[in-house]
Structures are given as structure tokens and as C-alpha cells.
């Protein structure tokens, strides 16, 4: 079973690297959205440092959500999903493999580039470290919850807008705790509580989201 899991991850990664835009576009989107805020509000150092954590996190939320399309869309179009449904291996394991790949190609690059954005938003070094930790704990949650939403709308022709209605409210706890942790570490306060929450929420989603996603896929593919 673990072999299937690994081979699926390998296959999807190979596919993703063939279409480099799937990796680069969410990343560009993330950078552009963050850049808009200083232009729209003010280049003032204090203001940006104050709103920076929230802005970076909202941009990460949107980038992760907009890239969910790549999670199941092509497999749905060419019938691979139906094949997976009929296979002898548990669907939730295969779904988890796809979610891991989605995180590797969207969440992980965001984490890598986040120090840069933290710097242009005038976050302190401590805050940038915290930002990376929260992204490390938080972006997998976004991929996991997003997968449920994507599985529900995958059969619809125009599901993009609907997907954001379904998924964004569920992202709220991640946004609250992550951006708050970064803000608190700017102010030199303790952040372990927020990080514990994020870690617990991630484990929770890791166990339940693949099951919900495979149930949703079964409904969508009926």
C-alpha cells in the first residue's frame, strides 16, 4: 500500500514538473498579491509591519485555493479518477498522495519564498522565522481542506467561484492563528499556543480530510 502511495506521488510530481506553470503560477500570484498592498495602502514601515502577517497569510490562502484546480481536474478529465475509484487500494490513501503532491508544488514553494516577502513587509527576523513555521504547519491544512471542496465541485463545469465559497470559511481558523502567531512574535510575545493549535489542527485534518475527500469524489463521479 505504501508502494502505491509512493508511486502515485512520483507520477504526479513528474506530471507537475512537465507543466512548470502549475508550480510557478501560484507562486507568482502569491508574490503579486502581497506586492499590491504596499501600493494600495502605503509604503510606511510601521503600517506594513503591522498588517504584513495578515496580508502574507491571506495571499497564501488565496494562492493555495486557486491552485486546487490542479489537484483533481486533469485526472477527472482523462478518466484516471474513475480508474482510481475502481482500484483495489483504498481511495483515501491515493487521495492523500495527491494532496501531498499538491502541497509539494504549491505550499512548499510559498514557504521557500516567504522570507523575501517578510523582508519587504518589514517583519523582524524572529517574525520571519515564525512565518515560515506557521506556513509549514498551515499550508498542509489548506491543501487538505481544499481537497474536500475540490472533490465536491470537480464534476461541475464552472466550479471555481463555488469552490472559494465552500473552502474559504473553513480556512478561517488557520488564518487567525497563523497571522496572530507572526504578529505576536513581532511583539516579542509567546507563540507556542498558536503553534500547538496549528499542529493539532493539521493532524486532525490529516486523519479526516482524506476520508471526506474520497467520499466526496465518489459522489462527484457517480
Amino acid at each position: 500500500m505504501f508502494k502505491v502511495f509512493l508511486s502515485l506521488i512520483k507520477r504526479d510530481l513528474r506530471l507537475a514538473f512537465r507543466h512548470k506553470s502549475e508550480i510557478l503560477n501560484p507562486l507568482f500570484f502569491f508574490v503579486i498579491v502581497v506586492t499590491l498592498f504596499p501600493l494600495g495602502i502605503s509604503p510606511d514601515k510601521q503600517i506594513l509591519a503591522e498588517i504584513g502577517p495578515g496580508i502574507i497569510w491571506v495571499a497564501a490562502l488565496l494562492a493555495s485555493m486557486l491552485s486546487l484546480e490542479s489537484l483533481f481536474r486533469s485526472d477527472f478529465d482523462d478518466g484516471t479518477l474513475e480508474f482510481m475509484l475502481l482500484s483495489e487500494y483504498p481511495l483515501s490513501i491515493m487521495v492523500l498522495a495527491k494532496i501531498v503532491v499538491h502541497w509539494l508544488i504549491t505550499g512548499f514553494p510559498i514557504i521557500i519564498i516567504s522570507p523575501l516577502l517578510g523582508t519587504v513587509m518589514f517583519l523582524s527576523n524572529d517574525a520571519i522565522t515564525t512565518l515560515m513555521i506557521t506556513l509549514l504547519l498551515g499550508t498542509p491544512i489548506l491543501s487538505l481542506i481544499g481537497a474536500i471542496g475540490m472533490a465536491l465541485v470537480v464534476a461541475l463545469k464552472r466550479g471555481g467561484m463555488l469552490l472559494s465559497l465552500l473552502v474559504l470559511p473553513l480556512y478561517i481558523p488557520v488564518l487567525i492563528f497563523s497571522s496572530n502567531a507572526v504578529g505576536s512574535s513581532m511583539a516579542g510575545l509567546a507563540i507556542s499556543g498558536q503553534l500547538y493549535f496549528l499542529a493539532a489542527f493539521m493532524v486532525f485534518c490529516l486523519t479526516l480530510a482524506p476520508i471526506a475527500t474520497s467520499a466526496a469524489l465518489r459522489v462527484s463521479l457517480e
Binding site: I148, L152, P173, F197, V219
Partner: protein, 259 residues
């Protein structure tokens, strides 16, 4: 003896779950629920508006709470009903549970809207602004988003069976997330509560204020029961329209109306 009782209960359950019997029994129940709800709501309103004593801190404006709090309770309760009946429909394949869930959604959204707006109206004289990012109001707003997402998903999927199953999954995911969202919003609110914002809590509520609150709360529940059953009856007629019993019912009911 016990076996007989269980067999009887199972029989009653399956009879209720069959659309034809549901239609008949719900038709009988609706007037009862409706009239009891009307009596309780009128009594609760009169009690809440005129009889309950004036609050020494908030003056008469606290009387809005007799609408706001039960509406907020209902908004949570109805979402739980949707998730529970969704789960029942998924596990036991009972069509009627789907009907109940989808009939509940607009009513729940209406209660959520009512809780939001009355909360905002209550807040205006208390806080001086129409909106404050108070924990309860924010939670209600997010709950409204969840209801809207549910209804959007339902209307986006054309096949009603698939729509019902997808919505059931969404409702279950939502119900698991609601406590987490609620907790995080509460936590966020206590952190950012710089100014003294008096929350809408009821610190040691007096008995004379509790009575109208309970009257309204029970009234709202009965009202919901009547409203959801009448919506569900319509849906049953629509989905079963090619059955003979529906043809009979339609003939009978439209015959009565034309005299």
C-alpha cells in the same frame, strides 16, 4: 415483548420514511406545530416587550435579545439538523433525510440573517456603531457563509440525488469545523478586545427575563418544525410526481381549492 416493541418501532420508522406516509403525517402535524408556535411566540413577545422588567444597565434595548439569542440558537441547531440528516441519508440511504436537510437550509440561513441583523441593531445603541467585530456576531457571519455555500453547492449540481449527497458531505465537514471556527474566533476576539466591548452574554439572567427567552426559544423550534415540514411536503410532491398517490393527492387538493 421487547422484540415486538422494537419491530413495531422499526415499522413506524419505515412508514414515516416512506414519502406517502410522510406526506400524510406531516400534513396532520403542521397545524399543531404552527399554532403552538404562534401562541408561544405571541406570548413570548408580549412578555418580552412589555412585562419583563427593564434591564438596569441596558434599558429597554435588551428586549432585542429575546429575538437575537433564540435566532442564534436556531441557526446552530438547524445546521446540526442538516448535518445529522445528511449523515442519516448517506448511511441508510433514506431519501426523506435528504429532503429534510435541503428544506432546512433556507430556514437556517434566514435565522442566521435574523440573528446577525438584530445583533447589529442591538449593538447600535450599545456600542455606537452598527457593526463591531464581536465574537458572537463574527461567528454568526461565518455561519451565514457556510449556509450560503451549502445552498450554492445544492443549486450548482443538477442531479438532485448527487446534489443531496454532496451537500450532506459538506454539512458534515462544516459541523465538524464549526466548533473549531467558533473557538478560534472567540480566542481572536479576546486578544483584540482593546476597547471595552460589552459582550452579549447574559450574566446571571433574572427569572423574569428567562421566561420570555424560553418561550421564544421553544416557539422558534416549533415554528421551524412547521416550516421545514411544509417545505419538505412540497419537495416530496415534486420528486414523486409520477406516482399514483401524488396524482390522487394533487387531484384531491386542487379539487378542494376550486370548490
Amino acid at each position: 415483548m421487547i422484540k415486538a416493541i422494537i419491530a413495531f418501532l422499526v415499522k413506524v420508522f419505515y412508514q414515516l420514511a416512506s414519502p406517502k406516509h410522510f406526506y400524510r403525517i406531516a400534513g396532520k402535524l403542521i397545524p399543531w406545530f404552527g399554532w403552538f408556535a404562534a401562541v408561544l411566540l405571541i406570548a413570548g413577545s408580549i412578555d418580552g416587550l412589555f412585562i419583563a422588567p427593564v434591564d438596569y444597565q441596558q434599558g429597554d434595548s435588551y428586549r432585542i435579545i429575546f429575538i437575537h439569542v433564540p435566532a442564534a440558537w436556531m441557526s446552530m441547531f438547524i445546521y446540526m439538523v442538516m448535518a445529522t440528516s445528511g449523515a442519516i441519508a448517506l448511511i441508510w440511504k433514506i431519501k426523506l433525510a435528504d429532503v429534510i436537510a435541503s428544506s432546512s437550509a433556507p430556514i437556517g440561513a434566514a435565522f442566521t440573517f435574523l440573528a446577525l441583523v438584530t445583533g447589529s441593531i442591538w449593538g447600535k445603541p450599545m456600542w455606537g456603531t452598527w457593526w463591531v467585530w464581536d465574537a458572537r456576531l463574527t461567528s454568526e457571519l461565518i455561519l451565514l457563509f457556510l449556509y450560503l455555500g451549502y445552498m450554492a453547492l445544492e443549486s450548482a449540481i443538477e442531479d438532485p440525488r448527487a446534489a443531496a449527497r454532496a451537500c450532506a458531505i459538506l454539512a458534515i465537514v462544516g459541523v465538524v469545523n464549526i466548533p473549531i471556527i467558533h473557538y478560534s474566533v472567540e480566542w481572536w476576539n479576546t486578544l483584540h478586545q482593546g476597547a471595552t466591548v460589552s459582550k452579549m452574554d447574559k450574566p446571571s439572567i433574572h427569572l423574569s427575563m428567562l421566561i420570555p427567552l424560553l418561550l421564544m426559544a421553544v416557539g422558534f423550534k416549533l415554528y421551524y418544525a412547521a416550516a421545514v415540514l411544509s417545505r419538505a411536503r412540497n419537495k416530496v410532491l415534486l420528486t414523486e410526481q409520477n406516482r399514483t398517490w401524488v396524482k390522487e393527492v394533487v387531484g384531491l387538493e386542487s379539487g378542494v381549492k376550486h370548490g
